[in-house]
Structures are given as structure tokens and as C-alpha cells.
Subunit: 163 residues, 2 copies
Amino acid sequence: MNLDTPSITILRSLLASNRTAALATLHDGLPFASMVPIAVASTAAGLRLVTHVSRLAAHTRDMLAAPEVCLLLTAPESAAMPQALPRVSIPALAEFIPPEHADYAALRTAYLARHPQAADLFQLGDFSIVAFTPLSARLVAGFGRAHTLKPEALAAVFQDDIV
Amino acid sequence: MNLDTPSITILRSLLASNRTAALATLHDGLPFASMVPIAVASTAAGLRLVTHVSRLAAHTRDMLAAPEVCLLLTAPESAAMPQALPRVSIPALAEFIPPEHADYAALRTAYLARHPQAADLFQLGDFSIVAFTPLSARLVAGFGRAHTLKPEALAAVFQDDIV
């Protein structure tokens, strides 16, 4: 996948450690940015990002109306210049996963592994699992270290981490 | 503006301290999320957020094609549940500010106050100041503490901070 080792390490850390992402949705035809809790799961169909959202939230209604979204995972701010801050933009398709879906249990498990305090929210009827299928990824691993990646590259980097 | 004191403190911190924001743009008709360095400035026309971006960047081309964007400023991740993480979504209009613009000096000064290492980038011909005029704001100051604000409320909170 033509990623240098430091870039692989950075991408792995973003995927394996970040607990939140910025979510860009289409809201009445205009871009909107909100925050979502995030986890990453390996499913039979490939790598998915996963969140757990209230049906009352504006971004949930946005995703129901237009599943084309984009996630941004960013490293914590530091004293370094923001331009060097590691981050990855992941255009994706959002899919609402009902409890009877074959992947529901695996997605729920991956989500709760990163967000154990969220267990109670699964008792609430108005919360849904949403799975994001990456369409591509744009990684900026530092100054002059930008890479456009296929979804398979995300999966390979993440799976190496959990083996 | 009907903001409780803890929410004012949180909004002030996001506006005055965050060095980066997530930027949602329209990219070939679909939402895209990227990271931008950010600062906040008081201008004669009101509060502006300001960034400094390369014309080579995809989000810069997006903003040239469609100035309707949205910024998201989020508090650092913590052990708390992400749902309680303070953040503010700011739908805004992006405007490219040439050096001869009346507000250029004030915007540049505000930007460099938060990003002193960026001074050298102002020597590069392909970087531009972009000012964001807020259209509204959606503040989530914690569990059950969501507020929809007018741009004037952002300005009032920020100006109190710098008096």
C-alpha cells in the first residue's frame, strides 16, 4: 500500500485509539460538522467504523436522508504546528444496523470495548448502531506525508494491530 | 442569550483555546471533513473565525467552489463519555481575504497570536487567509446542555473573554 512505517504507526493509532470523530453530513443540502463517538470493527464484509447515536440527533436525521458522509479522526492537539497534526479523512457510507443484522453483535462488541460506559444506552429504544463503510481515506501523517488509501489499506493496518 | 454560566465558560474555552477545528465542506456534491488551524478575531463586522490554507489543498478548492461550510471545535478527549464532551458546530460562510482587504491585518494578527510558528507561511505565495462568518452555532456543553446560538452570542462570549 506504499505507506512508510511511521505513517502506518500513525494510522494505526488513529484507528485503534481515537474515541471520537468529526462527522460531516449533508444537512438541508449544506455541509454540517458534528462529533460522534467512534470505534473500529473488523466484519466479514471488511473494516467498518461504528457509532451509536440517538434518533433525536440532527446528524442521525441527516444520515437517514443522505448516507454519504465523511469522518475525520485527528490526533490530540500538541505544541507542533497544526499542519503536522496526524489525521485521516474517511469518506464513507452510513448504514443503520438493526439488532437482527448479522453484524450487529460484532459491531456492538467493538463499540462497547472502546466505550464501556455506553452499555446503559443500549437499553434505550431511541439509540441506533450506525456502521460506516469507508470508500477511501486521505491520511496526513505529518508535513509532506499525505497518502490517499483504499479501504483495504485501512483494514490491513487495523488488523495488523489486533493480531 | 440564555446561556448558563458553565456553558459560557465552556464556549469561551473552545473559542479562545482551540488551535484546530474540523471543517466540513462540499466536495463534488458530497460532504468532506478535514482539519484546519483556527483562530478567532473580533472585526468591525463582528466575530470571525480565521484560518490560513494552501491553495493546493482540497478543502481550499472546495471553499472556492462553495463557501457554505461548517466548523466543529471540540474539547480534548477525556475519560468521560463522548456524549458529554463539550463542542460547538458553527455553520459559516468562508471568504478569501486578500492582503488589501480592510480586515486583513487584524485577521493575520489574530491568527499569528494563536499560531506564532506560522509566520513563515505568510511568505509563501500559495497560502490564503480565509475568514469564516458564523451563521449560527450549536453548542453542546455537556449532557442535556445543548444550545442553539446566534452569531451575536458567540461574539459576546468571546469579547467578554478578551476584555
